[in-house]
């Protein structure tokens, strides 16, 4: 019987999904607990979190994770998904030599706000539309 791969070099097939996609999805699901907090959850009058903002945050992270994988075979480090100001959500990444905070606003029309730096002195910061910068920002984290 002849193997289908006989005569060809075995090349590992690239997975259609990033290897940590289930972990990313699980982090997004865990962050859903913030929707139950309501307003003034911290005793300082902070605004609560909406289903719509959580959904957009999840879409942003999932699509950026997939795009980074498909374009560069890069695997996104796991972020902490944290409560941000005025109903917004923060993504916080900390790797061995880089750290980045990315804020996803509660209002869809508002821009992402991000800041990151590295132990080598690199700084990355600015505001941008979520649709344009996701994979680029995540690629910086793993450069």
């Amino acid at each position: 019987m002849v193997s289908r791969s006989q005569g060809r070099r075995d090349i590992p097939e690239r997975s259609a999904e990033p290897p940590n996609i289930a972990e990313v999805e699980s982090a997004i699901q865990a962050a859903r607990a913030m929707l139950d907090w309501g307003d003034d959850w911290d005793g300082e009058g902070s605004q609560g979190y909406s289903e719509e903002t959580w959904q957009r945050a999840g879409d942003f992270l999932m699509s950026s994770t997939r795009e980074l994988w498909h374009r560069h075979q890069g695997v996104v480090p796991m972020p902490e998904i944290e409560p941000g100001p005025n109903g917004s959500l923060d993504f916080h990444w900390q790797t061995e030599d880089r750290e980045m905070l990315l804020n996803l606003p509660a209002e869809q029309d508002e821009l992402l706000d991000f800041y990151g730096d590295s132990s080598a002195g690199e700084v990355i910061k600015g505001r941008a539309h979520a649709s344009t910068v996701g994979p680029w920002l995540l690629a910086w984290l793993i450069r």
Partner: protein, 128 residues
């Protein structure tokens, strides 16, 4: 009957070497005990803190109503470092809190992350 008179405190200038104390809810503390950047946000245009000249961390921890004190940690930040981030630090005494101080300025991602890095936890809370 005598009217109750609230004290009126004079505003003072705060030296760079003094500390600001701020209460931080347990939801703003991560699993490893670090302070999240979300702990440093404005409410109605500024961020409330207490000046160390008139409040100890214990007094700061007792402020606020409707929450258990055990749900909060207290962090301290050096005034000069806060100003170095482009924030204004203004003493704004209230009748019931002579230490009350506002930190004024945009709290973008850079400022919040740097405040989270530079603060020091002075009263811890039990992580639930």
């Amino acid at each position: 009957m005598v009217d109750q008179v609230s004290p009126v405190w004079e505003r003072e200038s705060i030296p760079d070497g003094d500390l600001l104390h701020r209460r931080v809810h347990r939801k703003l503390i991560n699993a490893s005990g670090g302070i999240r950047a979300g702990a440093f946000t404005d409410y109605k245009g500024d961020m409330s803190t207490d000046w160390s000249k008139y409040a100890s961390p214990q007094e700061t921890s007792r402020r606020g109503t409707g929450f258990h004190r055990e749900e909060f940690a207290v962090v301290s930040i050096l005034v000069g470092e806060v100003r170095h981030l482009g924030q204004l630090v203004e003493h704004d005494p209230l009748p019931e809190n002579r230490a009350h101080t506002n930190v004024i300025g945009e709290k973008n991602a850079e400022v919040r992350l740097k405040l989270a890095r530079m603060c020091r936890i002075v009263i811890t809370m039990e992580l639930v």
